[in-house]
């Protein structure tokens, strides 16, 4: 038994060593290998994206005070999810839950009644202010799993800058995001917004960043903007609007 276990462990280590050696020796000759991602990229290419999304989802549940918003049993009310992200309100839903009583359908399903009361809080509280730091480890894990998850980077920046009001942290997130995603238009746009807001209206620097980003988009599609992805095209449109807005005289804005 012990001999089999030792042989299995030996085979696993040897297989891992061969995989790492193949990847490192011929990294440039393997088109499927994502450069810079290491052995993890080879083994779990799609899994990394899924894990990263799951981490962002977890951060979202932390924002909602631990409630999984995709789980119907975990919150018994309708939400305007987009609107919620702009406030740190506290709702008292105790009345809505009909706490301690069977609701429609629960009389026939006691399991649902138990789940609703064990897994749903009496109050729906959002993270706000400095407390929002609780979300940062999940964003960190998300971008470690998939450094090209631009949504994770920009949301982490939003949490640090807008919610925590921690400019230094927001700057660190943005710097790392740029380093990992030098071609991302969204991150460039985020940097422009940060430069304008954080720099108290430094329009010259903001214009420079936006113009660079727009030329990058131009290079990406060879001048044919209709060939940009829907997401990039939308970012370009927003960047042009932003650029036009900051070029207006301050009285006209």
């Amino acid at each position: 038994m012990n001999r089999i276990a030792v042989m299995a462990a030996g085979c696993a280590i040897a297989a891992a060593a061969v995989a790492v050696a193949v990847v490192s020796v011929s990294a440039g000759r393997l088109p499927q290998v994502v450069k810079g991602g290491g052995a993890l990229s080879v083994a779990f290419a799609d899994a990394k994206t899924t894990i990263s999304s799951a981490m962002v989802h977890k951060a979202d549940s932390y924002f909602h005070g631990g409630i999984d918003m995709e789980c119907n049993e975990c919150h018994g009310h309708d939400h305007d999810h987009a609107a919620e992200h702009d406030h740190g309100a506290e709702h008292d839903h105790a009345g809505e839950h009909g706490h301690g009583h069977f609701e429609g359908g629960e009389a026939l399903d006691p399991w649902r009644w138990i789940n609703r009361h064990v897994r749903a809080p009496e109050k729906h509280v959002h993270l706000d202010g400095k407390e929002s730091v609780e979300m940062m480890p999940w964003f960190w894990a998300a971008v470690r799993a998939d450094p090209h998850n631009v949504d994770a980077w920009t949301t982490a920046w939003y949490v640090a800058y807008k919610m925590m009001k921690d400019h230094a942290l927001a700057q660190r997130v943005l710097d790392e995001a740029k380093e990992r995603n030098p071609d991302s238009l969204e991150i460039a746009f985020t940097e422009a917004r940060f430069t304008y807001d954080g720099g108290k209206g430094d329009s010259a620097a903001t214009e420079r960043i936006l113009e660079n980003a727009l030329s990058m988009a131009d290079r990406k599609c060879g001048g044919r903007f209709s060939e940009l992805s829907e997401r990039d095209a939308e970012t370009c449109r927003r960047m042009r609007e932003y650029l036009a807005d900051i070029r207006k005289p301050s009285a006209a804005r």
Binding site: W113, H117, E122, F139, D166
Partner: protein, 259 residues
């Protein structure tokens, strides 16, 4: 009655000694330390002050480890006795099969609870060291977790009398872990699939071991407060009923087993 208590006491002591002598708990503790220490030393993006993710990781480890211990302890109660034929001198003591089953089950649960309480004591210590505090939901969480452990031991004990040890561990583990993570969503899954499969999902929802009822992790991590007393006792009642049913089934299986 006095004889039964004496027999049960001896069996409980035996299970205790067996679990702690096997060093599984210490191996799991070392693993927990190896996972938690680097995690607690990290500061994501250089931001200080986040602690809920540490609590979440620690409690998830406690759940995982307690399940491993409960399933391992429950599944090892009878098969080694059959294999090494020590069941014959054991039953010749004299002790009835029912008393043997109850005594062994009580011993396995007590031993698993002792490991669980050690894990929670270490968790509480780590939270207090970080300057955190607890409220009433911790006590409820621990009690419900203990009820879950009792249920998991009963599941693996019953399984050990009708299947092989490896199959039992696999089936019990899959059933409990699946219910823990997806149990509450089974009605949604049943609605999403067609007739014969939806009946199976509905059946699993109706009779499967609802491990998710005992999961107070989010309440502990995010400070939601304690659950209603009515709900709390309903979950305990569910556990008691489920354990009694499984032990009844195990007693029947043991009674019919050809030794």
């Amino acid at each position: 009655m006095r004889l039964f208590i004496r027999q049960a006491k001896a069996l409980v002591k035996l299970s205790f000694v067996e679990l702690w002598r096997r060093n599984d708990v210490f191996a799991l503790l070392v693993l927990a330390v190896a996972l938690m220490v680097p995690l607690s030393l990290s500061s994501p993006f250089g931001a200080a002050g986040a602690s809920r993710y540490l609590d979440e990781a620690a409690i998830l480890l406690i759940w995982g480890f307690s399940l491993v211990i409960a399933l391992g302890t429950g599944s090892r109660l009878f098969p080694p006795e059959f294999e090494s034929r020590t069941i014959y001198p054991l039953l010749a003591k004299p002790i009835s099969r029912g008393a043997l089953l109850l005594g062994k089950y009580a011993g396995a649960v007590a031993a698993s609870w002792s490991a669980l309480l050690l894990f929670y004591a270490l968790f509480a210590g780590s939270v207090l060291l970080r300057g955190g505090s607890f409220s009433s939901e911790l006590a409820q969480g621990v009690v419900l977790h203990m009820a879950f452990v009792a249920l998991a031991v009963a599941v693996s004990l019953a399984g050990s009398l009708v299947t092989t040890p490896s199959a039992n561990l696999a089936i019990s583990g899959i059933a409990l872990v699946s219910m823990f993570f997806f149990g509450r969503r089974l009605p949604e899954y049943a609605d999403a699939v067609s007739a014969p499969l939806s009946w199976l999902v509905d059946l699993a929802y109706a009779v499967g071991p609802h491990a998710e009822f005992f999961d107070m992790r989010q309440r502990l991590i995010h400070g939601w407060g304690a659950v209603d007393a009515a709900v709390f006792f309903a979950v305990l009642l569910y556990a008691a009923f489920y354990v009694a049913s499984l032990l009844g089934f195990a007693a029947l299986a043991l009674k019919r087993k050809r030794l």
